[in-house]
Symmetry: C2
DNA sequence: TCTTCTATGTAAAATTCTAACATATCTTCG
DNA sequence: CGAAGATATGTTAGAATTTTACATAGAAGA
């Protein structure tokens, strides 16, 4: 009863962006203003709304307005990346141990993943925070130097780290891809880390939105034949797809 | 004059996330509250802040992954922690190498620190992200299992990590303190890590807001005599202070 | 059925915000 | 240089909103 009403308020707020107490009062004529206030208070505690003088506004509404460098980056090709993330999420089984990188696609993946019992390694700071929200995840952060542009870590010492750890699956992404140069990224130590991850994992799933195709970054960390599954979007060129499938790599 | 003040307010707000009018009044003693209100109004028009009852909050703050337990935690005893953080920040010299923990006070410290050339190690995910915003910082994240309640990492492997690293200064905080039980925290591996950090550092600065006094957590990682400087707030009891000063520990 | 806890309602008190006007400061053009 | 207009700031009273405290009703459990 209470919960339902609160959810309804949250929905309304997400829809309208902002509501005054008066408007809420009209929508819920059978409860007092004080109750609505208390509901808003609770939603504020949950971090879903912001109370402002006269009423409240949806956090989502605020988040729409553009912002910082990193946050901004996450808004490019959002839709494709979310779809890719959803596909990837559907491939993950319970009780599995896996590695995720720290890229923006991984960020979406972290959000889309079902809250099952999983052991997850990552080198992404923001990704780790997102993963930590899920009750059933066991999250391990890889240490190392923090790269400011993508908020992930890399370190030559990672090798020692991996000595005692195992994961079945590596779900990673690349900054650039061409058939000739393979999958590449912008930092040497990042490439080293990803190679290590690939070697350690039983299978490698690559998430690659089509905007990365044709670009080349300085450090290659994998070639076509090094991966097991390619997860991409609908704009992925058919002729490239053939290159993968003829090597028995699943493209989805 | 007006513009400068408004920009200053915006900056402050980005730093602190949220400010009350009272706090703003303290920061700008030479203008009236009404003027500050008008400034906030203008910033709101520009879409950079959101005015809430009692003050305003930064849009950027909201755009961060808002709403989590962690963010909520950061609103308790905010003022004291900021003051402590400011004191601590003033103690840091350029070209220094230091360790910071992942607590909320460290979070404020990260925001308050001047953007000098510094090498910083931390086990806090959110702290690392905050530190990464500064151009001149070299940030290293300690890896390990992610503790969901405070978003920091700890790992028995950390010892190996420290073999090749050096820092002069450890600025850490505790969840609880009593003279008998010393400084304590809630997780074994966290305590282990902090002990290690203490041993590694030439000097240990402890940030402790007075709300922690008299509390006891399961794992002690330092006693009074183990630290070099205690940074606290004005509510710190005088008799306790004596306990520290008589052991030549600076209390500030 | 009684007790306890949670949810809700009511109204006064406290706080914060706005509006309106007064004063000061800064611009600019004759 | 000086006056008129524009902009910025200060002050206050009154309006609106929010909080607090207490009362009541309803649900859950023993």
């Amino acid at each position: 009863m209470k919960r339902e009403r609160i959810e309804e308020i949250a929905e309304l707020l997400d829809k309208r962006g902002k509501l005054t107490l008066e408007q809420l009062d009209e929508q819920f004529p059978n409860v007092s203003q004080m109750t609505l206030r208390r509901d808003l208070f609770q939603l504020e505690q949950e971090g879903r709304i912001i109370r402002v003088r006269g009423g409240a506004m949806s956090v989502k509404e605020v988040q729409k307005v553009s912002g910082e460098p990193y946050t901004k980056k996450t808004t490019i090709h959002t839709d494709e990346k979310i779809k890719i993330a959803q596909k990837a999420a559907s491939l993950i089984d319970e009780n599995c141990s896996l590695f995720m990188d720290g890229g923006t696609t991984a960020m979406y993946l972290a959000k889309e993943m079902p809250d099952k019992n999983l052991h997850i390694f990552t080198n992404g700071l923001a990704v780790a925070i997102e993963l930590a929200q899920k009750k059933n995840f066991h999250v391990t952060m890889l240490g190392g130097q923090v790269m400011k542009d993508n908020l992930s870590t890399a370190s030559p010492v990672a090798r020692a780290y991996f000595d005692n750890t195992n994961f079945e699956l590596a779900i990673i992404s690349a900054s650039a891809f061409t058939p000739e140069n393979g999958f590449s990224c912008g930092a040497q130590i990042e490439a080293d880390l990803l190679k290590l991850v690939r070697a350690k994992a039983k299978a490698t799933y690559m998430m690659l939105d089509s905007s990365k195709i044709g670009k080349i970054m300085p450090y290659t960390f994998a070639h076509i034949e090094d991966i097991d599954v390619l997860i991409t979007d609908d704009n992925f060129p058919a002729e490239l797809k053939a290159e993968f499938t003829k090597r028995n790599i699943v493209v989805m």
